[in-house]
């Protein structure tokens, strides 16, 4: 008898609480745990820059450093403009950055980013991209986009484990007491007002891309306080309201409300106003593999230009061109590229080492908190049902984690027994550096226990239904818009760039979402095209 079978039987026959308490049945569940984190050992070599001198020199019009969404978006834009003599250098073995994904025999699943809300109708570049890849299949008589129904996240989208049971929706449609409900409604109504608000410059108070938002101080002043302070100022007192907003801040920015700029916090709720023919503003687009789907769409156009396992470790300016030093991890060779223009599509924590004095900005303002993303294979997904069936996004009020997303939710198979859930945890209580030190010391066994201890609060016997865990520890998960960040001069410097060298990463915007990365990529590509002409 296999161990798992034994556990199942013993769990049923002699479901002894005492035995479970001593973890005999659920704690030592015997499933494999694997790591798929970023290639930190190679990446960290840019600090010391100990690479052999280049033996080969090559020339290119443009080099894109980094193959995340912003790099791929820049590449796509260049290619569409007929500017084709360029390469994208990516350190990892696959492009996509936070929009990468994995696959096992049950499903594809995301490594990090997993959805995109219905975009604003003003962001036409994004709508065109969606049309090109059948995410938008057409427009109705009112010119509203028709989204591919298979990509609109189907019901039940979200559920919340709150006061001992699962409730439909997030925020939940029921389960709140009168005071909690009224305060939450007040907050949401206030956000609806912000959605409609415009500054004296005629621009929307909050929109995506955030660069198109109003610069009216009536709104930008919110960048000078934390979201927590804003809530207090507006007399929000219910713990549920605070929990909900804290959750949203952690989910989108990697920091709690107490560390997030209030402007960013409000932007989260008030910037999305997309209208569609066949779904609502609050709907989202999702795929089993998360935003890796979008990576594949972007890659389709530019695959021939991508070089993976290529670490860019140094950039120098020499007369009319840029010297870009690239380490090919596969062939263990250094190559020197001479390029007319460069797009820096990597985070500033990397640029700091690549550019050094070339770009004298204050890098301390760029904070990236660590994340844990674990893909957990579940052998019987019906075991995750409760008072509400398993939803796409499943969140627990009492857990410090951000819950989990069900990868097979969008699968059309009607009788799938197994699934993969993607579990998210953001470490932001202490400083980013301290948090990184804490997580770096954890062993696979400790991660397993860490995840199980949390999940057991909502699914007491989940260990019996896990067949594998794939852990992805992201030391620098995403940029966090701390107070003052958005109005910091470093952002303006990055937006301007250097002559022939431009910045595309979403951290230049301060918010790590697909739309921002997509936008920054286009902007940097436009700068490159402009520089040449």
């Amino acid at each position: 008898m296999k161990r798992r079978t034994f556990i199942k039987w013993s769990g049923t026959l002699f479901a002894l609480p005492a035995l479970q308490a001593c973890d005999l049945l659920s704690g030592n569940a015997n499933f494999p745990i694997t790591f798929t984190g970023p290639n930190a050992s190679t990446a960290h070599k840019i600090r010391t820059q100990e690479f052999p001198d280049p033996q080969i020199t090559k020339e290119l019009d443009t080099i894109i450093v980094g193959g995340g969404i912003s790099g791929l978006s820049a590449a796509r834009w260049l290619k569409n403009a007929g500017h084709t003599n360029f390469n994208v250098f990516e350190l990892e073995s696959a492009v996509g950055g936070n929009a990468r994904g994995g696959k096992n025999k049950i499903s594809e699943y995301p490594f990090a980013a997993h959805y995109v809300p219905i975009p604003n109708n003003t962001f036409t570049e994004l709508l065109h991209f969606f049309e090109q890849h059948q995410i938008i299949t057409g427009y109705n008589e009112q010119q509203l986009p028709v989204y591919n129904p298979y990509y609109i996240c189907s019901e039940p989208q979200e559920r919340l484990f709150f006061r001992g049971i699962w409730h439909d929706g997030l925020p939940p449609k029921n389960g709140l007491n009168t005071n909690e409900w009224h305060e939450l409604q007040r907050f949401l109504n206030q956000m609806e007002q912000f959605k409609l608000a415009h500054g004296v410059d005629g621009k929307p108070a909050f929109t995506i891309p955030l660069e198109w938002s109003s610069t009216d101080p009536a709104y930008t002043r919110f960048d000078q306080m934390t979201m927590q302070e804003w809530l207090e100022k507006e007399s929000y007192t219910q713990p549920f309201t605070h929990w909900f907003i804290d959750y949203c801040c952690k989910d989108d920015f990697g920091t709690p409300a107490s560390k997030t700029s209030a402007w960013a916090g409000l932007h989260y709720f008030a910037s999305r106003n997309g209208k569609a023919a066949n779904c609502s503003t609050f709907d989202i687009l999702a795929w089993p593999e998360g935003n890796h789907f979008l990576t594949k769409c972007l890659m389709a156009d530019v695959a021939a230009h991508i070089q993976t396992q290529h670490l860019t470790y140094k950039i120098e300016k020499e007369q009319a061109h840029w010297k870009v030093f690239v380490w090919n991890e596969a062939t263990q060779q250094t190559i020197l590229y001479l390029a007319k223009t460069v797009i820096m599509a990597c985070p500033q924590m990397v640029n700091k080492h690549l550019l050094k004095a070339l770009m004298p900005i204050d890098y301390n303002y760029f904070q990236y908190y660590p994340w844990l993303v674990a893909n957990i294979t579940i052998n019987k997904k019906s075991e995750l049902n409760g008072s509400q069936d398993l939803a796409w996004d499943n969140v627990s009020y009492n857990s410090p984690s951000l819950g989990y997303v069900n990868a097979t939710h969008l699968s059309l198979a009607s009788n799938q027994q197994e699934t993969v859930i993607t579990y998210y945890y953001n470490f932001s209580i202490n400083s980013a550096k301290e948090e990184r030190l804490t997580i770096a010391s954890k062993t696979p066994e400790q991660w397993k226990q860490f995840i199980l201890d949390d999940l057991k609060l909502i699914h007491p016997t989940i260990a019996n239904n896990i067949s594998a865990i794939e852990v992805n520890v992201l030391g620098h998960g995403m940029i966090s818009p701390t107070p003052g960040f958005l109005s910091h001069p470093a952002r303006a410097q990055l937006t301007k760039g250097l002559p022939g060298l431009y910045f595309a990463h979403s951290d230049c915007s301060g918010i790590s979402i697909f739309e921002q990365a997509f936008y920054r990529g286009i902007e940097a590509a436009k700068q490159v095209l402009h520089y040449g002409s």
């Binding site: 049923t12 026959l13 002699f14 479901a15 002894l16 129904p149 298979y150 609109i152 996240c153 189907s154 019901e155 039940p156 989208q157 066949n278 779904c279 709907d283 069936d389 059309l412 198979a413 009607s414 009788n415 799938q416 027994q417």
Partner: protein
């Protein structure tokens, strides 16, 4: 009463307990077998026969036990308790696995019989020094038969109704072991391996106690007791639990405890599913059936001589194999699943459909009711959009759409959803005694009002009937509903709301 007499009485009491327990185990086995396998006369008769025969073997074997009789007696007593106590549970679980159940059933009966059969002769030999032979025989058999009477009276009147089969078995198993423990303490000196026996007895007593306490959970786990009918086949496929039952010659199919059909009236359901659509089409040649792995809708389809090619897509190969190979079920679907015109595909309908290029004249959609979100997708606008792509312009499709009486909104929601993707529809209903009022919706672009061809010798459907089926009385008449889309899944909410009241 002196010490020796006390011990004699004790031993005789244990005869009484053994006899009671023995008969209880036999009754449990008989009940279980007729419960699970049906045909109670055969089951009881063979089980009693095998049990008594096994007791005979036990009695014969008793002569090979030469010495340390009391030790052996206690050991056997413990074993009887263990085997008898867990036998019912083992049989329940084994039945779920479906194969080799008979061997296990008679094996356990024989083992219990042999052990019980050993005990009486051993006991008589232990007591022969204490009592006269005539006294011995008289007393032992008196206790034996009184115990049997008690068991046979208690079993139907008290044990089955109040404790259930599993608890009863665990209870008497414990009783056996308690007797063994008692003997261990009273006859301390005459027993070898005393500590071993005691420890063994106490551990097994605890095991049975746990089983007794958790018997209901075990029972829920097996589910088998939910059927108040004789089960002729049961198997868990990777997708569902398949149970076939038989009551007085009528076969019924249950998938995950939901009745799929009863052979007594399935013709009403399947004739109503197939003929209203198919009989109005001109020379339908290519047919698609989604769901319907029992081959019963297929049987109706094959009655049309114009049909050249039928594609049947059903998720569960276990179901289609069963209905293709079992003699009694083949009789029911007239061997439809072996027809040369059929292409049988075991895969998920939605994903399969999305990849199709060819078009069909008639499509039959016979999925389970929309009781969960993953099945709800098969009733969505997106699904019907895919149907549109594979339906010939002059073709039609029919959807089994739950009961318009029990789930009125759900039914009309299916109708509204089909309309929303641009089809014209014709809703209709029929009375199927096992289900009640049942509803279907036909979808099409053009649909003739005249019957083109109707097979001979149908048992229920005819054109006059069709006129009645299209009429909905007030309590089932159309109600306005939302449209079921992937991203709202309203149908699931209607269905839960409506059937939730009933179940």
């Amino acid at each position: 009463m002196n010490n020796s007499k006390k011990k004699t009485l004790l031993l005789l009491l244990s005869v009484f307990v053994i006899a009671t327990c023995g008969l209880i185990y036999e009754l449990i086995a008989g009940t279980l077998a007729s419960y699970l396998l049906g045909d109670s006369i055969t089951q009881f008769s063979t089980i009693i026969g095998v049990y008594l025969f096994a007791m005979g073997i036990g009695s014969y074997l008793s002569k090979f036990f030469k010495d340390r009789l009391l030790t052996w007696f206690i050991q056997i007593e413990i074993l009887v308790g263990l085997v008898g106590g867990i036998s019912a549970t083992i049989l329940f679980f084994a039945f779920e696995q479906a194969s080799g159940f008979h061997i296990l059933l008679y094996g356990l009966i024989s083992l219990t019989g042999i052990l019980v059969g050993l005990e009486i002769p051993l006991l008589m030999r232990i007591l022969k020094s204490e009592l006269e032979f005539s006294e011995l025989v008289s007393q032992v058999f008196t206790f034996d038969y009184v115990g049997a009477l008690l068991a046979s009276v208690l079993f139907p009147l008290f044990l089955v109704p109040y404790l259930g089969l599993l608890k009863t078995a665990f209870f008497f198993g414990m009783l056996n072991i308690l007797v063994a423990i008692l003997l261990c303490f009273i006859f301390e000196k005459g027993i070898r391996y005393l500590r071993f026996l005691r420890a063994q007895a106490i551990v097994l007593l605890l095991v049975l106690l746990v089983g007794f306490v958790y018997a209901e959970r075990i029972q829920n786990f097996t589910e088998t007791l939910n059927y108040n009918e004789s089960i002729i086949f049961s198997k868990s496929s990777p997708y569902q639990r398949i149970v076939l039952t038989n009551v007085k010659g009528t076969t019924k199919l249950y998938l995950n405890n939901n009745l799929q059909f009863s052979a007594a009236d399935e013709y009403r359901y399947h004739e109503a599913l197939v003929h209203p659509g198919l009989s109005h089409l001109y020379g339908p040649a290519t047919i698609l059936i989604l769901g319907g792995g029992d081959g019963l809708a297929l049987r109706e389809v094959l009655k049309y001589p114009s049909v050249q090619k039928v594609t049947l897509v059903d998720l569960d190969a276990t179901v289609t194999d069963l209905f293709k190979n079992s003699a009694s079920l083949k009789k029911l679907n007239e061997g439809a699943l072996s027809d040369k015109r059929l292409t049988l595909i075991n895969t998920d309908a939605f994903t399969w459909l999305k990849k199709q290029q060819t078009q069909f004249d008639f499509i039959i959609i016979d999925f389970p009711d929309p009781s969960n979100f993953s099945i709800g997708k098969l009733y969505s606008t997106s699904f019907y959009e895919e149907i549109k792509k594979v339906l010939k312009p002059n073709g039609a499709f029919v959807v089994q759409s739950t009961s318009p009486f029990m789930a009125r909104k759900s039914f009309w929601c299916v109708n509204a959803t089909m309309k929303a993707v641009g089809f014209q529809t014709q809703a209709y209903h029929v009375y199927v005694p096992s289900f009640g009022e049942w509803g279907y919706v036909l979808g099409f672009n053009h649909f003739g009002s005249n019957t083109v061809y109707l097979p001979q010798q149908l048992r229920f459907y005819n054109p006059q009937q069709w006129e009645e089926m299209k009429h909905f009385p007030i309590d089932m008449a159309e109600v306005p509903t939302a449209i079921n889309k992937l991203n709202n899944q309203v149908l699931i909410h209607y269905f839960e709301e409506e059937w939730g009241k009933v179940q």
